[in-house]
Amino acid sequence: MTTVESILSRYREPLENFPLELAADWKKRHADKKLVGCYPVYHPVDLIHAAGMVPVGVIGGGNRLEIAHADSRFQSFVCSIVKSTLELGLTGRLDFLDGIVFHSICDPARNLGSVFKRNFPKLMVDYIHFPQNMTSPYTIDYLASEYLRLKTSYEALTGRPIKDDDLRRSIALFNEQRRLLRELYAIRAEQPENLSTVESYVLLRIGTLMPPEEHIPILKEALADIRARKEKPKDRIKVVLEGSFCEQPPLELIESLEAAGCYILDDDFLLGWRWFLEDIATDGDPLRNLANGYLRQSVYSGVKHDTREPKAKHLIDKVRETGAAAALILSAKFCEPALFDYALYKRALEKEGIPHLFLEFEEKMWIFDKARTEIETFVESMLFD
């Protein structure tokens, strides 16, 4: 049986070096397959899969990538993931991709789509405008038409039509993957002593770099292993983590946070790959089902701008529901959406009397002492308060 330990020893190092090499290696073994890169946060990956292609999470360059070219294109005040993604492209590390898709998450990501189009004319570069009106009854028509446009793009890339039944099968497959990921997160929330955040992170992240058909069996075996664990809870404070929905912190930082005395019961890492709270319907019009899922069945995300509830409600609820003692806001440096959200989170958390710690990170950071000291101090203040 594959254990979580063996999965980590197989994948942790590649993930810390150049995560995308896992996907590039896969492509070498499947030369006839087309791969499409998905910039965070969310992409209807089911559609790429239904076209007979493999969706790949292009989620930054990590802390081993030297930015040598991209910083002359994007200014110093632009977040790291925008620059590292361009750097990956300019240094040929995305050559294994046949396409890449951006969307309306933030302004730099939006412009990055255009910069990609100009610099990589052979690559299919598309852009999804996700609706920011979550209340109008017409939004679903719009989003279904946007997905139809994207579907046509994918059909042009592969040269064959995507049939509704293909898409239904893909949705069913990703439903299964997302169900397993929800279980993984449920275990963390309920028995964090049995599954560390780094372990669940690796299990999730590898799923962005291989087809779901390969990821699902790994997840199943890992879950069987985790379910059998009976660790003793340590004397740690329980927190929920928020703010890392796009650029990803280094694994060592995540590890430091836990080692400093926390159980992270929930987080928003790699949010787009576990976007739905429940299964997407597999009967009826599949494009409409995906659109409906986005509007009515998806997780909270600050970049979705849902005016139906106050910004911090989901965070307060999450703290209450999981029984966490505090919130940890871990925002990427220069990430304007996360930094804006923080102002409202701070206000709401203070009002509710929930302690919180705000930390900034960069995917390219190497030294974790400062973050570690801050969190240790925070944990101590909580434990001995």
Binding site: Q75, V78, D107, R110, K117, Q132, E336, F340
Partner: protein
């Protein structure tokens, strides 16, 4: 070192003071009085909107008052009053790296809403016309949390298709939303929309836009009759606050007349026009005069600017059509403003400006606050210098936060750039002369 031919800033005539400016002061004064009356006496209902591709016609049709937090923020910056508000917002948890327009406005909103030019009312409707700028969504989301006003996100699909045009589905989606906005306004004001009135307003907008386009094409003349950046921004407030009103139309009629006279007289904003440039990016509002003078001393005139097209892009043929009021408002919001167009469409807009407005150079003013404008301008510079061979200068500061403006540094960059441009001109002249000998 001062270049031998350059004039000093105080001898260079850097602005044109005519009827148009007096009229601008008068009508904008009336507008801000109306805004203040709404705040202080509850006279009228305010609709908060954003500048980019704004649907001001609908707001006027209900006799509601358009209030633009961006205009409030920039007025604070111009009057050098923004910093305390920015700092107040930062104390509340806003980051150094957040857009300073938002911070100044949040500081103002939570700090009494009194400015040197008006008192800002609480909004009855927070109409987030999301036209390209993601920060808009954050901004209005935050204001909605700080007051009881109703928020509506009017979602405008971004120009992502290679054709650069909206799809029929995009237009239908926006029209449906405009109908929902109408229903909200009807509920807020207690009166039904008068469609004839809306059509009249849209017709006025059409005429105003056409006048504005004519005014902006006058800068194709050599010398340019006015500066299509520094002087254009004076005309932008009436364009957004008063488009669709008689006051607004009268202002643009006057402006066109005066600018045409200047063309007749062959006069421009500077004693001598020595360089023509296109400028990309918003101005540094807290140091507008200083910034202008840095160009003026070189005899450099901006003949076109992308910033003057944020609220609408009329110079390439768009005109509001009163017979299709909602569709034409939708088209304006979708296609005919710079912010909802993709970055490569902006490259193309600038390329046309350089060519059709006979410019010598491109200046990119990169502002930290507005990543919509700035993120990726290094690539833009790469395109213009390497692909097109256009001399391009990239300078950095901010549109609102005075802490990011380094005069000495910007001056050095601008001087070095125009010095080399001058050298280039002289060499070209000599070469041309040599060829004819």
């Amino acid at each position: 070192m001062e270049p031998p031919m350059a004039q000093t800033a105080d001898t260079a005539k850097t602005s044109y003071q005519g009827q148009m400016h007096l009229l601008q002061k008068e009508i904008m004064g009336r507008y801000f009085e109306r805004v203040t009356r709404a705040a202080e006496q509850g006279d009228g209902k305010a609709v908060f909107m954003l500048i980019s591709g704004n649907p001001v016609e609908l707001v006027h049709a209900f006799d509601m008052i358009p209030v633009y937090p961006e205009i409030d923020a920039l007025q604070l910056a111009v009057k050098k009053a923004a910093l305390p508000f920015i700092q107040k917002a930062e104390e509340l948890g806003y980051s150094m790296d957040n857009c300073a327009y938002v911070k100044a406005d949040v500081g103002l909103f939570l700090g009494g809403r009194k400015t040197p030019f008006a008192t800002i009312p609480l909004p009855s409707l927070i109409l987030c016309n999301y036209v390209g700028c993601n920060v808009y969504l954050q901004w209005f989301e935050h204001l909605a949390e700080y007051c009881d006003g109703k928020i509506y996100n009017l979602d405008i699909p971004f120009m992502r298709d290679p054709s650069g045009k909206p799809s029929p589905e995009d237009i239908a989606y926006v029209v449906h939303q405009l109908e929902e906005v109408i229903a909200i306004c009807e509920e807020l004001t207690g009166k039904k929309l008068d469609w004839d009135k809306l059509k009249r307003i849209v017709a006025l907008s059409g005429e105003t836009g056409e006048l504005w386009a004519k005014i902006k094409s006058l800068t194709k003349h050599i010398p340019s009759p006015f500066d299509n950046y520094f002087d254009s921004v004076t005309m932008m407030a009436p364009l957004y606050c008063l488009r669709g009103t008689e006051d607004g139309l009268k202002f643009f009629q006057t402006a066109l007349r005066e600018m045409e006279e200047k063309v007749q007289m062959g006069s421009g904003p500077l004693p001598e026009e020595r360089f023509r440039f296109v400028i990309e990016g918003p101005p540094p509002w807290p140091y507008l005069r200083t910034f202008r003078d840095l160009f003026a001393k070189w005899g450099a005139v901006a003949v076109a600017s992308t910033y003057s097209t944020v609220g609408g892009l009329w110079e390439f043929g768009f005109k509001h059509d009163p017979n299709r009021p909602l569709e034409s408002i939708a088209e304006h919001m979708l296609q005919w403003n710079v912010t909802n167009r993709n970055f490569l469409q902006r490259y193309e807009q600038i390329r046309r400006y350089i060519q059709e407005w006979s410019a010598d150079a491109l200046v990119i003013h990169s502002v930290k606050s507005c990543r919509l404008f700035s993120a990726g301008q290094g690539d833009m510079r790469e395109y213009f210098t390497k692909e097109l061979g256009i001399p391009t200068l990239l300078i950095e500061s901010d549109l609102e936060d005075p802490r990011y403006f380094s005069e000495a540094q910007i001056k050095n960059r601008i001087d070095a750039f125009f010095e080399s441009l001058e050298h280039r001109k002289l060499t070209h002249k000599t070469q041309a002369a040599g060829a004819t000998l």
